[in-house]
C-alpha cells in the first residue's frame, strides 16, 4: 500500500473534502489500486519524450483582443446567496 488512510485524509483536506470513515476507507483503497495501475508507466522509457500537445496548438493563432460587454450581471448576482449590493461577498479569509 503506497498511501495509508492518514495520508489520504490529508490529501482530501487539501481538496477541502472532509470524508466519513466509510468514504476514507473507500478512497484509500481506490487511490492505492489506482497508483498500482499507474506503476505500468515505469515500463516505458520516457526520457526523451515531450509532454503532449496538439500539433495545431503549436501554431496557436492569436485573435484580436476585443472587449465584448457582458450585460447579464444580474443573472450572475441572482445565483449567489452571498450578494452584498452589486457584489458577491467572499467570506473572510484572514482570521482576526
Amino acid at each position: 500500500m503506497k498511501l495509508d488512510a492518514h495520508e489520504v485524509n490529508e490529501i482530501a483536506l487539501e481538496s477541502r473534502l472532509v470524508l466519513t470513515e466509510q468514504e476514507l476507507d473507500n478512497a484509500t483503497r481506490y487511490i492505492n489500486n489506482f497508483l498500482d495501475m499507474l506503476d505500468s508507466f515505469k515500463e516505458l522509457d520516457l526520457t526523451n519524450v515531450e509532454p503532449f500537445s496538439f500539433a495545431e496548438a503549436l501554431e496557436c493563432p492569436l485573435r484580436e483582443d476585443t472587449v465584448i460587454a457582458f450585460t447579464n450581471t444580474q443573472g450572475i448576482l441572482d445565483e449567489s446567496r452571498h450578494v452584498d449590493g452589486a457584489y458577491v461577498k467572499v467570506p473572510r479569509i484572514i482570521e482576526e
Partner: protein, 500 residues
Amino acid sequence: MELYELNLHDAISGLKDKKFSASELFASCKARIDALEPNVRAFITRTDSTPQPCENPEGLLAGIPTVLKDNLCTTGIRTTAASKILGGWRPPYDATAWKYLRESGAILMGKVNMDEFAMGNTCGNSAFGPTHNPNDISRVPGGSSGGSAAAVSAGYVPFSLGSDTGGSIRQPASFCGVYGLKPTYGMVSRYGLISYGSSLDQIGPFARTVRDLQLVMSVLAQYDPMDSSCFREKNPDFTHREDVSLKGKRVALVKEFQSFTLDAPIAEAMKKTRKVLEDEGAIITEVSLPVVAKYAVACYYALAMSEAHTNLERYDGVRLGYTVTDAAGVKEMFEEVRSYGFGSEVKSRIIAGTCLTEPSRCDEYYVAATKVRTLIAQEFARAFGETDFILQPVTPSLPHKIGEEDDDAMKGYETDLYTLPVNLAGLPGLSFFTGYALGQPSLTPPNLGGEQGGNPSAQRGLPVGLQLIGPRWSDPELLNAGVILERNLGTPKIANGGID
C-alpha cells in the same frame, strides 16, 4: 406513423413542405415523453410545459425539438451536471453549441441526465437517480451521456447533444441503439460546457440516422473565439451525399485487440461489419497500437483525474449552487459545501487528481502520463499513415443490469479501453448501429438481425454498436462511411421504453 417517429431529416422536410406544423411535432414529442418518462427517467429538468418560441423560423432546425446533456449551460434554465453542488444554478449565458442550435431554430424540451460531472459510464452516478435503457428498462443506458442517448432512442426527440471525455457519447449511443459522433477535439466549441477533463472533453450529437448527424454537425462545427481550443479555417463540409464510396479505402483492425474477449454478439457484429466493408470495396488491413493497448487506460485516468481536480476547485458555494450561510470561517464553508455537494465517485477522482499533481508525485505520475499521451498520439499518427479508418468495438460487453456495477472501479475503467484512446489523441469516433442481439446476451447464442422490420420490439434484444475512428479532422469522411454502413446494416428502430 406518429410525428415523434420521424428522423431529423424527415421532420425538417415535413415542416418545410407544411405536411404538419411545428406545434403538432412538439405535441407529439411531448406526448411521447409523457408516456415513457416514468419508465426511462431521462430528464433532470423539463422545459416543455409550453412550447418554447422558435428563434429562427427560417433556420435549418426550425421547430425541431431537442434535449441537451445537463452539463451544457442554458441561460436561465437550471443546469446541474447531475450534482447536488450546483443546486438549482441557472447560468447567465448559453453554451455556444446550444446557441448555434437555438439560432438555427431548435426547440429545447429539457435537460437530461448524466453521470455526475460526466464521471461514469452508466448514467447511474447521478444525484437525480439512474436513467433506464429504453430498449430494456432493467439495463443501463450507458454514460455519461445516458439521458441524451435514451431520449433519442425512445423517440422523445430526433436528435440531442452530449459530451464525450472518454467515450461518453459513443458508449451510450451503442447501448441505446442510436448513432453518436465524438468530433475531432477542436471541431465544436466547448464554451459553456461544464468542464471535466478540458483537454479531453468534446461536445457531439446523437441521432437515429447518420444523415441526421451530418445535419447537426453542419450547425455545430463553427469556429468560436470563446474557446481557445476551437480551430478556425477547417471549414468541414458535412453535406449529405448518396454517391459516396468505400472502394479502395483501407479499414484497419487493431492487432493487439484481437486477442481480447468480447461478448458473442459484439464479436459477431465485427465479423458482419468487416464483410460489409469488403463487399463495399474497402481493403481490410491491420495496424499495431501496442502502447494504446497497454497504457491508454492508466494514461487517460491519470490525466482526466488531474484535470478534474483542477476544474472542480471552483465549486466552493460562494458564487453559485449549493451553499451554507452559518459556517465558522471560509475553510469550514468550503469543506461543508464540497463534502455535501459532491458524490462519492467525484470525491474519489478529486482526491486522486490532487494526489497525482502534488509536487512530490507530479513527475512520477502526471508528467509521465502527458508523455505517454504523446506516444499514444504518435502511434495513432503512424497508424493513419497506413489506413484511412480503424474499426473496433465500443465496449467489450452489452449493457448490464442497473445495480450490477463492478465493485472494483479499476475493472470498470478497463471497459473504456476501446473509447478513451480516441480522446487522448483528439480523434473523431463514430458509434454506429449494427443490429440487434436476439434474446438475453448471456444466455443465448449470437444471432444478429440488422433488418429494420420483422422483430417486435419486445423480442428484438439489445442493440449492438461498433466504432469507426478516423484521423484528426476526418469527421466528414467518417460520417460518409457511416452512411454506407447504415445502408448495409440497417437503421435502428425507436425503442419502446418498457411500454408494450
